[in-house]
Amino acid sequence: MEHLIDIVLLGLLMITGFAIVRMKSLLAVAMLTSIYSLLSASLFVVLDAVDVALTEAAIGAGISTILMLATVALTRDEEKAPRHTPLLPLAVVTVTGAALIYGTLDMPHYGDPAAPVHQHAASAYLHDTPGEIGVPNVVTSVLASYRGYDTLGEVTVIFTAGAGVLALLGYRTRRRNIQGPGIRKLVVLRVIAKLFFPLILLFALYVLFHGDYGPGGGFQAGVIFATGFILYALAFGLGNAQRVIHHPLLRIMAAVGVLIYAAVGIEGILLGGKFLEYGVLADDPVTGQHLGIMLIELGVGITVAAVMLIIYYGFVSRQD
């Protein structure tokens, strides 16, 4: 059954991919990209990667689509036909694809437990996590504790992207409430948005603090938190959303999150451990791990949420 779902989902992904190539209307392409992301999120659930699925659904199908739609609104919707014949690109793609498929023939079979990728580090993480970290979700323990340096780097990348979009698009405060003319008439949407707004924020907090025990964590929570405000801004206009959460506050919060993360690392040094060693944060190493993971996930969540909103505000405040 699992294999059947896998085959069908991959087939649908392929069809969506080809449709994206063929479509000329960029609005339709943006929506198809959202479907593509949602399909791959479903595939990740089948492949046991629940944390990844949650992230892909929130980011790929949610925020990416909104950014693409915002860009399409700022550019022209129709795609012009290319001037060159597509023969050369087609040849390049075919040759590259054939070479890659030849390369896969040496790979271990799908689902093979003896594949080299499952030896060494991965089995050690699975074996040591209950005793050393004490959290059931191994993805969280690897992300936040064993490979905490990497994650600090990722958070800095997110922060840099926010700074980059801010530098490129700037930010214009608008007196006028930027909103599509038709939205004001959609009473159902406005009522539902108002009802869902607190629930989305609550769910984000659940995903943040339950990330040790179930799928979730700072990245997903930050994105879901930002989605709540984006939904609010879509239904009630950017001006109203800015009154709820100010742009200068977002810029400060984006930095605060990274600083919380780094501060937890430095606190470890001050208490006599290594950078990002959580065991020394409390008397009992496992309690220290819990505390450290909680704090850095909080930092990740704050930065991700703030940067997502900075990016969204940047794109939407560009609309005339």
Partner: protein, 118 residues
């Protein structure tokens, strides 16, 4: 069944990868190019997650009575890669918006023509 599937996942991933690659090199519209890049990125995610799957395994959340878990390491790598992919997509789209404002078009061919006129 596994033998029959063998490399099915990897082959579809490569087809998706090449679909994205084709859009990037063959389509002149810049928004579409960013979307092509996005498709390419997502196909790489599927490649990694397919490799992490273990036959008969379950999600890597330790639970009494379960012994086979899928590999958590690629999950971690891809989780953060998805967030970074959004960062790159957002920056790419922001550049497209600025190019649109500067040239009045987001079509690569038209931009080249304008550049040659100057």
């Amino acid at each position: 069944m596994t033998e029959l599937l063998g490399h099915y996942n990897y082959w579809i991933v490569i087809i998706l990868m090449m679909t994205g690659f084709y859009i990037v090199i063959a389509r002149p519209n810049l928004v579409k190019k960013v979307i092509g890049l996005f498709i390419f990125q997502t196909s790489v995610f599927i490649l990694f997650i397919s490799m992490a799957k273990i036959e008969g395994g379950t999600a890597p959340i330790i639970e009494e009575g379960l012994s086979v878990y899928s590999n958590p390491l690629p999950h971690v790598l891809i989780l953060t890669a998805i967030v970074v992919s959004l960062a790159t997509t957002a920056l790419g789209l922001a550049l497209v918006v600025r190019i649109q404002e500067a040239y009045g078009t987001s079509n690569e061919d038209d931009i080249h023509v304008q550049d040659e006129e100057d």
